[in-house]
């Protein structure tokens, strides 16, 4: 895979292009509406969903508050079970560790379980630079990899592709990566799945090294958990001799009892299933069963810094179910690529600026990639108040403020390019706090209303290009009230100057 999310344009520019892509819009609308309706049905089946959701949030919060403790507990358990634990502060360090571990096996090819963490650190690209080929085995990731494309959804990375496009990619590209697509491949789901199965089987049976992420890590036993739908992950997790798992530090849960809550929340929220088809757990190594060597790479990459932010830290509760993407009207129109990261949609808009820092133009634009409609918060199975975090991050963009970068407390400066807006907002706030001035301004606007242009210049053009401007009435409510009832004493009560 050669394409990368690095250097992507700011959200509004990317979204302005993607909203015009009618095929993309149609693919996304169809797919997201199908999943969201199914999810609503699956959630409605449980009468204790609200309590489950609260429990999920509480367990995550408690674990995050004592993250150091649970990570040390996890390391002890994994080590005792025969695994080896490595700590990676950032993407570069994680990539270096994994590259070294693969090299030590002498292998040049690895099979991969679908993993957000490895997308986040750009592992495939790093391995390719070291001469190691990584094969994605999740069906959707395979489509993305063969198409030299980027994922655009957390759960369904190729959601932006339809069946016809997938058939074309398989026909054109499979042969370059291994077993070619069968002659006369059609776009029927069964034929496409069979083509992928045959192509992937060769990989599973020859690969000596598997690379995975994990949905959860249980501290008390050192067990890692992957939940998936296709079973390809289980092949990768059990067949190779060496297994390397790269997992974000926030994925730890204290006990198996805690895990129980998430194994109910996750499948219903993500695939609208009561239980996910494959739940694979592995604990260190076992003689005669599964990989003989197991490495766990614990990834920080901005997570501890995120944890230091009292409002923003709730983003670390995320269990990557993607329910927020499927209900988001902005995601549905803009598509996943506009978010410039493997984490698109509402969760991406709060996770990416925190993990990477709010310093680049893309990261500064992401907190504004929302109308704050609140649909994401409503469906989130761990109750992340995404609108609250979005507004908090907007404040960091326009006003700056204290943040933690690489463990050190620094004060962020306000972003450039917001000076005019900042001045306008402060002027508005001043006028709103001085009703006399406000009334004067309103009267001026009313008197000059015949001179108002139909279309606005500057940033206002964005409004008037597609929407007529509201006409300013001859008299404000304030003036109407004073004219018709102003003499009455009651209007003065409660008034302050």
């Amino acid at each position: 895979m050669s394409r990368s999310f690095l250097g992507m344009p700011a959200f509004p520019r990317a979204a302005a292009l993607s909203t015009r892509d009618t095929r993309l819009r149609a693919n996304l609308t169809h797919a997201t509406h199908t999943i969201r309706d199914k999810r609503a049905g699956a959630v409605a089946e449980l009468d204790d969903w609200a309590q489950l959701r609260a429990a999920g949030a509480a367990i995550k919060d408690r674990t995050l508050r004592h993250l150091d403790h649970y990570l040390e507990r996890l390391e002890e358990s994994v080590t005792a079970a025969g695994g080896r634990v490595h700590w990676a502060a950032d993407a570069d360090e994680a990539n270096r560790i994994v590259t070294r571990l693969v090299r030590e096996t002498g292998e040049r090819e690895v099979v991969k379980v679908k993993s957000m963490a490895t997308q986040e650190i750009g592992l495939n690209e790093a391995l390719a630079q070291a001469g190691i080929r990584a094969y994605e085995t999740d069906l959707a990731e395979l489509i993305v990899q063969l198409g030299d494309d980027l994922p655009s959804h957390i759960l369904v990375p190729a959601i932006h592709r339809n069946r016809g496009e997938i058939r074309d990619i398989f026909r054109r590209e499979m042969g370059r990566w291994g077993r070619p697509a069968p002659e006369g491949l059609s776009d029927s789901p069964a034929e496409l799945a069979e083509a992928a199965r045959l192509h992937l089987r060769e990989k599973f049976l020859t690969a000596k090294v598997g690379i995975s992420g994990a949905n959860f890590m249980v501290a008390e036993s050192g067990t890692l958990v992957v939940v998936e739908s296709e079973g390809n992950g289980r092949m990768c997790l059990t067949l190779p001799e060496t297994l390397i798992s790269i997992v974000g530090i926030e994925k730890v849960v204290p006990t198996w009892q805690d895990l129980e809550v998430f194994l109910q929340l996750l499948p219903r929220s993500s695939t609208a299933e009561r239980m996910n088809p494959y739940t694979t757990t592995w604990t260190g190594t076992t003689d005669g069963d599964g990989p003989r060597t197991f490495h766990l790479v614990l990834l920080d990459n901005g997570r501890t810094d995120t944890l230091a932010d009292t409002v923003g830290r709730q983003a670390l509760r995320c269990i990557r179910c993607s329910a927020c993407l499927n209900v988001c009207p902005v995601y549905e129109r803009a598509g996943g690529h506009a978010y410039g990261s493997p984490y698109p949609g509402p969760i991406g808009a709060i996770l990416t600026p925190q993990l990477r820092g709010i310093t680049g133009p893309l990261e500064q634009s992401l907190p504004y990639a929302s109308s704050l409609c609140g649909a994401c918060y409503e469906v989130c199975p761990v109750a992340i108040d995404i609108p609250e975090v979005l507004v908090h991050l907007r404040e960091r963009v326009v006003e700056g403020g204290p943040v933690t970068r690489r463990g050190a407390r620094v004060v962020l400066k306000p972003a450039k390019g917001h000076a005019a807006e900042r001045a306008a907002m402060r002027a508005a706030a001043w006028a709103f706090d001085h009703p006399g001035a406000l009334r004067g301004g309103m009267r001026l606007a009313a008197r000059t209303r015949r001179l108002h242009p139909g279309r606005l210049p500057g940033p206002g053009r964005a409004w008037s290009d597609t929407r007529a401007l509201p006409a300013v009435p001859a008299e404000s409510f304030r003036d109407w009230w004073q004219r018709t009832r102003g003499g009455a004493d009651r209007s003065r009560r409660g008034g302050v100057k």
Partner: protein, 260 residues
């Protein structure tokens, strides 16, 4: 009963007739309405764009302006949600920054007394039939803040269903955002317009004469789109429908006759 009207800055400047409708409606229901002149904006535009500190004086102003009242009624779901959802948040953040607890008092006083119009009608006055007459087909768009932050539920619907002469048309995808989102409409114009276009298509598809909400901010966005498209569908605030009576309908009918 005496209540204060919090008209909101958008209604004050751009849709005064919504405020007038609230006065007419509440007085018809026997409620005495005051308009404290010291009121201004709830601070939502500033707060939601990231200027939290600029919002703080407006929280204090809200508290002072409405200090004498037990009830503050507003014809805006999003401004009511701003007070109820964000004032405590603003106060908590200020306290965390070590700036006293004065805002906490202001928020604690503002939150319980602030009612969106339909909440006040249904929950406080206990009415759903407000004696309105509106002989038109209407489709109702439940705005995001009314729907999700305030949890208005079926209150607006129950009120609309009791309006004589009114035919309610179901709006497909009603719970989806119209794409206004305050400064979102300017910062992400392409996505905002795409969302608005889909909403307008759904509204037009119902065949209704008017689209109704509890928020004029959303209606300015949708109305602007409808106007630009030359659509005859009118944006109407719920308060204006509830304030309408048979006499109004006759008067406007007579006025039209007179014009001809």
């Amino acid at each position: 009963m005496r209540v204060a009207l919090f008209v909101t800055c958008i209604n004050d400047t751009l849709r005064p007739r919504t405020g007038q409708a609230v006065v007419t409606l509440l007085e018809r229901l026997g409620v005495e309405v005051d308009f404290p002149d010291a009121q201004s904006c709830c601070g939502q535009p500033q707060f939601n764009t990231g200027y939290r500190h600029a919002t703080e004086p407006l929280v204090r102003r809200f508290d002072r302006a409405f200090a004498d009242y037990e009830y503050v009624v507003t014809p805006s779901g999003s401004c009511a949600a701003m007070v109820r959802d964000n004032y405590p948040r603003i106060a908590a953040r200020a306290a965390a920054e070590g700036r006293g607890r004065e805002l906490a008092g202001a928020a604690a006083r503002a939150v319980p007394k602030t009612y969106e119009l339909t909440e006040f009608l249904v929950d406080v006055l206990g009415v759903t039939d407000v004696g309105a007459y509106y002989p038109h087909t209407v489709t109702y768009h439940p705005t995001c803040h009314g729907l999700r932050l305030l949890g208005l539920g079926d209150r607006p619907r129950r009120l609309l269903e009791r309006v004589r002469g009114l035919t309610l048309k179901e709006l497909p995808g009603a719970e989806e955002c119209c794409g206004f989102g305050g400064t979102f409409a300017v910062k992400n114009p392409a996505v905002s317009a795409a969302m608005g276009a889909d909403k307008v298509r759904a509204v037009t598809g119902t065949g209704a004469e008017a689209v109704c909400t509890v928020d004029n901010s959303c209606l300015l966005h949708l109305g602007g789109m409808l106007t630009r498209q030359g659509s005859p569908v009118r944006p109407v605030h719920l308060a204006e429908i509830l304030a309408s009576t048979e006499a109004d309908a006759q008067r406007s009918g007579a006025a039209k006759e007179g014009v001809r």
